[in-house]
């Protein structure tokens, strides 16, 4: 088990087992509420702190969970367990629809959508027939679990904190997996992940639905603990409070969620007693306090308060995970291609940005087992062409084929699936993941485990194989000593090499490298050249954008020169070096 899990798991299990025995009545109820809030907050940490998305509508999902079971158990007399299933199903469905509507748009549409939805559902709870209006629903039955009747707060104390322990275990399993790496990469933008074959839209949907389901679970527990529901605790204000909890506690850590839920609940109780004594009755002074507190928190401690505390806790030794076992059998590979077969062909490709023609009538061919170099002055349109070839941008006209398939209208994810893998001119690594984790993102498509198996960690065999493959590629590019270092801590030159290892992890036919040698020292450049030659011998096709002429001319089988978005010349390296038009372009009109 991971060491960082020990504190949150230990804490919740201790509260589950010892809380009911040791705490007085009032504190048991308080701890229960903190637990119910924590379940929602844990989902929000996954969504907001880790995934970079936000929802103000979690209280509405809690409400769906609570009202579903309330209606089914009182009006229809059905089992609370059926109520749980229906609540989760309904919530999942709504979250799925809401997510699909908003997640393709830029990041602020989801929170705005949840704001509107959170308000609507509050009015629905108050006005729909059979929901008891603003008065609510009474006499919700108790739950019994294998003959254990949960009739009072102490029983719920055990159940709630056992649920929290389970949730923490499941979420950390999820995060420590192939799916989890895709989720953790989300907030750094989806251009890179999509180019690595990750379906980022699906990852976003997964965390939104999981967060909603956790909220519904909390609602179900609430309904059977209180045995009464009304619309008030599911208002948009409560939805905002859930978000405040994780902002205050620390949006990116699971313990931050529990810490934030505790802090907000306890502080609110205390302020509601204290502030009216200072300012008089008839106000809602704790709202002013919390609003300002959150603003200050965002201004001075954007990561929340828990990271500030945990930085002061004593560190235990031996926290680093073990490197993967390299004896794991390798992943299956793509079938080999004949040498010098045409891999990529661009015909008459045009790209316009408004009035600017970045690429005009570009033709290009890349063969297997060859290194093709694309050179040209700054602003010649090389990176734009790269983005067209890899599907990051659609061309305005022209055709691009990979092997026998037309790819110019395909997404970068689909192109990656065909066997095209790329690096970026501006390095796109996930800075807070290790080199190993970053590189294994490249192998994303070579794993298949589903969400449930991942959360239960039943995919460890596949996971081991993926990590071993990543480790082999890291070894291959010569970064073995940095395997478990955080990628953001490496010098820029080495980060570029990490990108190459990540691209290789996809087992590609064609490698697109955007300025791989920039920032490398002489010996590192030689090593990179040797690596590319080895790849060529193995039959891989390589397309290279590069500024270092010595490096290119030494290595390339074929050189294409671009200027002003058009092809200026192409041919063998020594012919290009003597081409007067190319010399003019580089030296500025040598006549």
């Amino acid at each position: 088990m991971q060491r960082k899990l020990m504190l949150p798991l230990g804490l919740s299990l201790a509260l589950a087992l010892l809380g009911p025995l040791l705490l007085p009545d009032y504190q048991v109820t308080l701890v229960n509420y903190i637990g119910l809030y924590s379940i929602v907050a844990l989902g929000l940490v996954l969504l907001t702190g880790i995934g970079g998305l936000t929802s103000f509508g979690q209280a509405a999902f809690v409400g769906i969970g609570a009202y579903s079971t309330a209606v089914l158990t009182t009006a229809l007399g059905l089992s609370p367990w059926l109520g749980l299933l229906v609540g989760l199903g309904l919530t999942g469905l709504i979250a799925l629809v809401l997510g699909m509507l908003t997640l393709r748009l830029s990041g602020h549409y989801l929170p705005l959508g949840t704001l509107a939805w959170g308000l609507s559902i509050f009015y629905l709870f108050g006005n729909l027939p059979h929901l008891g209006g603003y008065g609510g629903i009474n006499n919700i039955p108790t739950v019994s679990l294998l003959g254990w009747e949960l009739s009072d707060a102490r029983d719920f104390n055990v159940l709630i904190w056992l649920v929290i322990a389970a949730v923490i275990w499941l979420i950390s399993n999820l995060l420590d997996s192939r799916e989890g790496r895709a989720i953790r990469a989300l907030k750094y933008g989806t251009v890179m992940t999509e180019a690595m074959g990750v379906h980022s839209g699906r990852s976003k949907l997964v965390i939104f639905v999981v967060a909603a389901l956790l909220a519904a679970l909390s609602g179900w527990l609430y309904a059977h603990m209180q045995r009464f529901v009304n619309p008030t605790p599911f208002s948009i204000n409560m939805g905002i409070e859930y978000l405040f909890m994780i902002v205050l506690g620390g949006a990116a850590s699971l313990l931050g969620a529990i810490f934030g839920a505790t802090l907000l609940t306890v502080l609110k109780q205390w302020l509601q007693d204290l502030l009216p004594q200072l300012f008089g009755q008839g106000g809602n002074f704790e709202m002013i306090f919390f609003g300002i507190l959150i603003v200050l928190c965002m201004q001075y401690a954007r990561a929340g308060l828990w990271p500030l505390i945990s930085a002061r806790l004593p560190k235990r030794a031996g926290g680093t995970p073990a490197p993967p076992d390299l004896d794991t059998p390798p992943l299956p590979r793509r079938e080999a291609l004949p040498e010098h077969a045409v891999l990529l062909r661009a015909d008459g490709v045009v790209k316009r940005f408004g009035g600017l023609v970045a690429n005009n009538n570009m033709n290009l061919q890349v063969n297997s087992g060859e290194i093709t170099a694309l050179i040209g002055p700054n602003g010649a349109g090389k990176s734009t062409l790269f983005n067209l070839l890899s599907g990051v941008l659609p061309p305005s006209a022209g055709e691009i084929h990979f092997r026998d398939q037309r790819i110019d209208q395909l997404s970068s994810r689909r192109i990656n699936a065909l066997g095209v893998s790329r690096t970026f001119q501006h390095v796109r690594l996930v800075p807070d993941m290790t080199v190993l984790e970053n590189v294994s993102l490249g192998a994303h498509r070579r794993g298949h485990a589903g969400l449930l198996r991942t959360c239960l960690h039943l995919e460890r065999g596949e996971e081991g194989a993926l990590l071993a493959e990543a480790a082999r590629q890291i070894e291959r590019v010569g970064l073995g000593e940095h395997l478990l270092d955080e990628a953001g801590n490496l010098p820029l030159g080495k980060q570029r090499i990490v990108e190459i290892a990540r691209a290789l992890c996809a087992d590609p036919y064609l490698l697109l490298l955007d300025e791989p040698a920039a920032g490398l020292r002489h010996l590192e450049k030689q090593a990179l050249g040797a690596l590319l030659r080895r790849l060529r011998e193995e039959g891989m096709g390589v397309l290279l954008v590069e500024h270092d002429m010595d490096f290119v001319m030494d290595l390339a089988d074929h050189v294409v020169v671009m200027e002003f978005g058009e092809k200026l010349a192409s041919g063998l390296p020594h012919a290009i070096q003597e081409n007067p038009a190319v010399m003019a372009a580089y030296l500025g009109g040598a006549e």
Binding site: F56, Y109, A116, N284
Partner: protein
């Protein structure tokens, strides 16, 4: 539904729609220039309406002390920054620039018996008290985190909105207010009777919209603001002071909010927390405009107003639900039509 009800509802819908259009424009403006989704936009509306109502009741509005307090905090921050950078010689200038208006307003409110002021002056005073709250808000809350992500700025917006309605409850109490109508006349056009109040509201709203259009399309400063919206760093490089742009966007938003408050005050009973629903309906309109297009946002606002008006006639209890559910098909349409490419992150 008979003809009379129909014209009444249409009129009502167009009138509130005009207000939502103003709110939507302010939201789009602030978002474009600063990337802030200003949840508190509706709070400017309620604060100005409630300030006017307090003046009309012959009492001193506490919002003037709010302004004085906020401006003092801004001053303290600016003085502290000046001291850190060894520019203390600028202290008198900072004090003069930041404190003159709030102090004058506080003196006016303190010395003059509100009941003796003529009606138009009360309106003017309300607007002048609320408008500077915009820049104060920007400097205190948003400027220190101008580089934060849209999401973080949104969380801040929600937090400050929560604080503002807390303050609003404190100073105005929980009961609702309605300000005096500007006019009670009616314009009779055969079978249709149009209230002059509605005509006035729609007229002023349209005039403001046209003024904004002219400002952004045809003045150098308006164009500079738009440039900031398009590319902040680029604008900075060609000499547009982007902090000032943010402050001015908030000033415009606060003025629009304050005027909207004066316009809506006589039509609707406003409570300390009514601003939230007003903002959200402005959002629905702005989302219809894709958070970018001014004319589409304005058209969306009239749609929202009409929908709300007719919904409140047929299914009163569900009118908010219907308005907010309108967001869903719009989002569907947006998500099917926009090809969202994220900006390069450096």
């Amino acid at each position: 539904m008979d003809w009379y009800v129909f014209t009444f509802l249409t009129q009502d819908g167009l009138t509130t729609g005009a207000i939502y259009a103003l709110i939507a424009l302010a939201l789009v403006l602030v978002f474009a220039v600063t990337r802030v989704i200003l949840v508190g936009q509706g709070d400017f509306v309620t604060l100005s309406a409630l300030t006017l109502a307090t003046l009309q009741a012959g009492k001193t509005p506490a919002t003037v002390w709010l302004l004085l307090g906020g401006a003092s905090l801004v001053c303290v921050k600016m003085l502290a920054a000046a001291a850190r950078e060894g520019r203390l010689a600028q202290a008198p200038r900072i004090l003069l620039m930041q404190m003159t208006l709030p102090c004058v307003l506080a003196l006016v409110c303190w010395l003059v018996e509100p009941a003796t002021l003529p009606g138009a002056l009360k309106v003017l005073l309300s607007i002048v008290i609320i408008a500077p709250l915009g820049p104060v808000l920007y400097r205190l809350v948003y400027q220190p985190v101008a580089q934060a992500s849209v999401l973080q700025l949104l969380i801040i917006s929600v937090a400050i909105h929560i604080a503002v309605i807390g303050i609003s409850l404190w100073i105005f109490g929980a009961e609702g207010f309605r300000t005096l109508p500007f006019t009670s006349g009616n314009l009779d056009l055969g079978e249709v009777s149009i209230s002059l109040q509605s005509v006035l509201v729609i007229g002023i709203a349209l005039a403001l919209i046209v003024a904004l259009y002219l400002f952004f399309g045809h003045t150098l400063y308006g164009k500079a603001l738009r440039a900031t919206a398009f590319n902040q760093r680029g604008a900075q490089l060609v000499g547009v002071p982007t902090d000032l742009a943010g402050s001015h966007a908030f000033l415009l938003a606060a003025i629009i909010g304050a005027v909207s408050g004066i316009l809506i005050g006589p039509i609707t009973t406003l409570y300390y927390d009514s601003g939230f629903l007003i903002t959200l309906k402005g959002f629905v309109a702005a989302i219809i405009g894709g958070m970018a297009s001014y004319p589409l946002a304005a058209a969306g606002a009239f749609l929202v107003g009409l929908l709300e008006s007719f919904a409140s006639f047929w299914v009163s209890a569900y009118k908010e639900v219907i308005v907010f559910t309108l967001v869903l098909p719009v989002l569907l349409w947006l998500s099917l039509t926009t090809h969202h490419v994220e900006e390069e992150q450096h």
